[in-house]
């Protein structure tokens, strides 16, 4: 039982580590595009309408901030 619990914990840790490393190691650096729009193609119109008010400016601001810090980090470590 203890081994099972330990195994589960280790697997969870492993998965979260993979996810994290994927975020922090962008393989392709592109500065051409503006903040990428969040795809709404698969959502139902009603869902989009309901979420529109709440998320009007936040996502693009957050993506902008992420992109900014990624770019700053990249340019401090490389001759960009």
């Amino acid at each position: 039982m203890r081994i099972k619990l330990f195994l589960t914990a280790v697997l969870s840790l492993g998965v979260s580590c993979f996810a994290e490393s994927g975020e922090s190691q962008p393989q392709s650096l592109s500065v051409t595009n503006q903040a990428e729009p969040i795809s709404t193609e698969n959502r139902q119109p009603a869902q989009i309408k309901a979420k529109k008010k709440k998320t009007k400016s936040q996502p693009s601001q957050e993506i902008g901030l992420d992109k900014k810090s990624l770019m700053i980090d990249y340019c401090r470590k490389h001759t960009c």
């Binding site: 580590c17 393989q27 650096l29 592109s30 500065v31 900014k68 401090r76």
Partner: protein, 265 residues
């Protein structure tokens, strides 16, 4: 038996994580510049297998030839002001150039119209990357700025041989010789504006501008370039000292294609 399986599992997860975490972009050099676009990252599948593809297929690449006949002077442009002040930066040998990274709390930058673009780093190329009618300058300085959306603007200053530049000497004297090393403990008070052309009003710079790219892999486009119309000088001895770090670390001029080079003069 169970313990053995458990130990193996932990090892596999650790090794896999390490492999992902340390996977770095593939190595490149100036000698292989014509083939940057074809450099492969064997650890990735298509399209990530060719991380520098834009170097080969991009249509808005930098640097370019700033020949007179390509320059358009008819459009009103943003006022450009260098608000750099003083910083206590770190001196970083990137493996491809000598670079000065501004401190985390540095507030200076380039004001384009009403927007202030924070200065992140500056670095040097020898010889210049931008050319005029095919002619290169002895060296070129790039001030790299990143705005709130993560977009890059570079202020480029061509360098001629002449009077010694004391600030450039500070860069040389504090730069580590070892590739990948950073000197962040110098405590040097660095007056960035001393690397701008004397006699040019920092609050109203004279420049050429065009849309371009990073001049190093991955050659990402969407970079706005501002190239000052006046050079700074360093002494011949300083240029020789610079070459002891890096020489020929300059990309060749790229096709202008459909772009215009605009002038604010």
């Amino acid at each position: 038996m169970r313990t053995k399986i458990l130990a193996n599992l932990v090892s596999i997860i650790f090794i896999s994580y390490t492999a992902v975490a340390v996977s770095a972009p593939p190595h490149w050099s100036y000698e292989e510049e014509p083939n940057w676009g074809a450099i492969e990252d064997a650890t990735q599948s298509i399209p990530l297998r060719y991380p520098y593809a834009e170097c080969g297929i991009g249509k808005h690449q930098s640097p370019v030839d700033l020949a007179d006949e390509k320059i358009v002077k008819s459009r009103p442009l943003n006022k450009l002001a260098a608000q750099y002040g003083t910083d206590t930066p770190s001196f970083f040998n990137t493996g491809h150039a000598i670079q000065v990274n501004t401190s985390q709390n540095f507030t200076g930058g380039l004001k384009v119209g009403k927007e202030l673009l924070p200065l992140v780093q500056l670095h040097f190329h020898e010889p210049s990357e931008h050319v005029v009618e095919g002619k290169k300058f002895p060296a070129e300085l790039h001030f790299v700025h990143i705005n709130k959306d993560g977009r890059i603007a570079v202020l480029a200053v061509t360098i001629n041989i002449g009077k010694e530049n004391a600030m450039f000497q500070t860069v040389l004297d504090n730069m580590p010789y070892e590739s990948g090393k950073e000197n962040s403990t110098s405590g040097v008070k660095f007056k960035l504006a001393k690397l701008l052309p004397s006699g040019m009003n920092a609050a109203n710079l004279k420049y050429l501008t065009l849309a371009g790219s990073l001049t190093t892999p991955p050659c990402s486009e969407g970079v706005q370039w501002y190239i000052l119309t006046k050079s700074i000088t360093i002494s011949a001895a300083q240029l020789e000292q610079m070459k002891t770090f890096y020489s020929n670390n300059a990309r060749s001029a790229q096709d202008l294609n459909e772009r215009s080079i605009l002038s604010n003069q």
